[in-house]
């Protein structure tokens, strides 16, 4: 079994709430980005979701969109991102997932992308602009995909996602893009219970998760949370004080992890 599956299944079994961190490649710069990723691991992060830049990131809110644009302006793209992922793989040992929009992948060619992915040691890919019907474009080449499910998804789509036998299912916690305020607590709980009733795959809750308190609230309903916009805003805030950035990242992850421990 892949390291990724093992980690998620372990979390599911223990009842502990895991932490998946979304980090955009290269930012604020390559060196500091690697430092941040090391700090994530130090803080106890379970899975790294590494972002690849795209000029038109439709599923993302303002904070993460800005990061995409900063990378694209520097001429960085999927190819450079995958090379960076290879370095990440050599630096940390937590499971690695690639987050990318579809156009750069399609442009590279799916067999070529698969090869690049294997080379980096990343174990799965998340493509936010591919709905379930289109995931076969990747799975037919043997890629492991993480399907996304939304509060608007009816039961039969959750079952479709389950059929992929994914390492986990990404449950979007907002009606909207990343960085938005999550739905009311009870609504999220109902939604997660509904997803759970149709799949035995581990569940990760993401988009707009910004406080350890949310981890406490949803523990037992999901197996992990994804934090992205929060980390992006920390990176932005500490850019002028780079020496403090890794420490701040580590402290943040530690707080989330602590909130997720099972007692």
């Amino acid at each position: 079994m892949s390291q990724l599956r093992e980690r998620l299944n372990g979390l599911k079994k223990s009842g502990e709430m895991g932490v998946i961190a979304f980090i955009m490649s290269f930012l604020p710069d390559k060196k500091l980005c690697l430092e941040c990723i090391k700090a994530l691991e130090q803080g106890g992060c379970d899975v790294l979701e590494l972002g690849m830049p795209f000029s038109d990131p439709l599923a993302d809110g303002e904070m993460i969109e800005k990061f995409h644009h900063r990378c694209v302006e520097k001429g960085l793209s999927l190819k450079e991102g995958m090379e960076f992922a290879f370095e990440v793989r050599k630096t940390v040992s937590m499971p690695l997932v690639i987050f990318t929009y579809f156009n750069p992948v399609y442009n590279m060619g799916i067999p070529e992308f698969r090869q690049a992915l294997e080379h980096t040691g990343a174990e799965a890919v998340i493509v936010p602009d591919l709905p379930l019907e289109e995931l076969t474009r990747l799975t037919e080449y043997g890629l492991d995909v993480i399907p996304m499910i939304a509060p608007s998804s009816p039961q039969e789509r959750i079952k479709e996602a389950d059929k992929l036998n994914p390492a986990f299912i990404y449950c979007v916690s907002v009606r909207g893009t990343t960085g938005m305020q999550v739905l009311p607590e009870e609504e999220i709980k109902d939604y997660l219970l509904q997803v759970k009733s149709s799949t035995s795959s581990p569940l990760a809750l993401g988009f707009g998760i910004s406080s350890p308190e949310q981890v406490r609230v949803f523990k037992g309903y999901a197996d992990a949370v994804v934090i992205g916009s929060l980390l992006a805003s920390i990176i932005e805030e500490y850019e002028a004080k780079p020496e403090l950035l890794p420490g701040e990242i580590e402290r943040t992850i530690r707080n989330f992890k602590k909130a997720g421990l099972s007692f």
């Binding site: 000029s55 439709l58 644009h69 750069p104 591919l130 998804s153 979007v172 009606r175």
Partner: protein, 392 residues
Amino acid sequence: MYPDRKGYFGRYGGRFVPETLIPALEQMEKSYLELKEDEKFNVELNDILKNYVGRPSPLYFAERLTSFLGGAKIFLKREDLNHTGSHKINNTMGQALLAKYMGKERLIAETGAGQHGVATATAAAVLGLKCTVYMGAKDAERQRLNVFRMKMLGAEVVEVKKGSQTLKDASNEAFRDFIRSFECSHMVIGSVVGPHPYPMMVRDFQSVIGKEVKTQFKELTGKMPDYILACVGGGSNAMGIFYPFLDDAVKLIGVEAGGISLEPGKHCATLSSGKEGVLHGALSRVLQDEKGQISPTHSVSAGLDYPGVGPEHAFLKETGRVNYVNVSDKEALYAFHLLSRLEGIIPALESAHAVAYTLKIAPGLSEEECLVINLSGRGDKDVEQVAGLKEV
């Protein structure tokens, strides 16, 4: 019959959007397919098109242009005479009525030239719906008049200052709004682009143009036209006039914006220079760099300044049914002035592209041949911009 059940025109089309939106698109498709056959809906829409939009729009024989060029007879399909000044209203009235039947309270639109924004704001006003229009800051600057019009019509106008600050980024913001609000809002996409069912739905609403041309041309001449030309941004006015003629022996020509030159970033000739890719929810041709990042574009015409194109056009190019060409900013501006002076019709800069290509081919054709240009809009919105250019 295209598209197929999954929204594909051959290899092109589909739905490439976040999973969150899928149920909304499925609902929309279902409602649209039902209403398309619904008598009450059709009676209401046809009444609006006739008495509010002013359809049918005339088919006008441009005698002075014809004799100036000395070749084929040139006819203009006068979409510029529609209420709000362009073909865009055919689609926005259709979609707004659909939204109303679906119980939505609010319309969201993206706009480039502002014509689609104005047409959506108008539809919202007359049907009693709320309206938010996203417009790139660069476009809002060059089409200021339309910003005022939308506001007067009661719409909220959001100027988008990100990325290229044109239609592409306005579309991104409109999609984000739609992802947040689809339970009470309908996104009125302004061209034959976007995820299924939009390319099909917009084409159907616009195909009133081609249907009328068919009847009108027959009445005038007793036959079919030999050529039909239309400008292609996203491709809605072109699809609208081409679609009813796809099975007829009529040559169809789509004219894209060649901008300053065909170097990357200096044009919007997506079908000539774009590669297969995914932008704004559909697989089609897209102007992109070698890494798959969407390219910056340029056109003197805000309504054509877009790196994508409708999937059905990508398909029709591949099958060879439609010939796609492009003309430069300069050629379009020349045509803009020529049509104004010869016919007393100031065309939209978008439509001037179709006129410009006509100037190239009409003199080489015989006097028996007939050519119809889709004059998709009027140029009032462009007067300030054109007056500011040195060429005048």
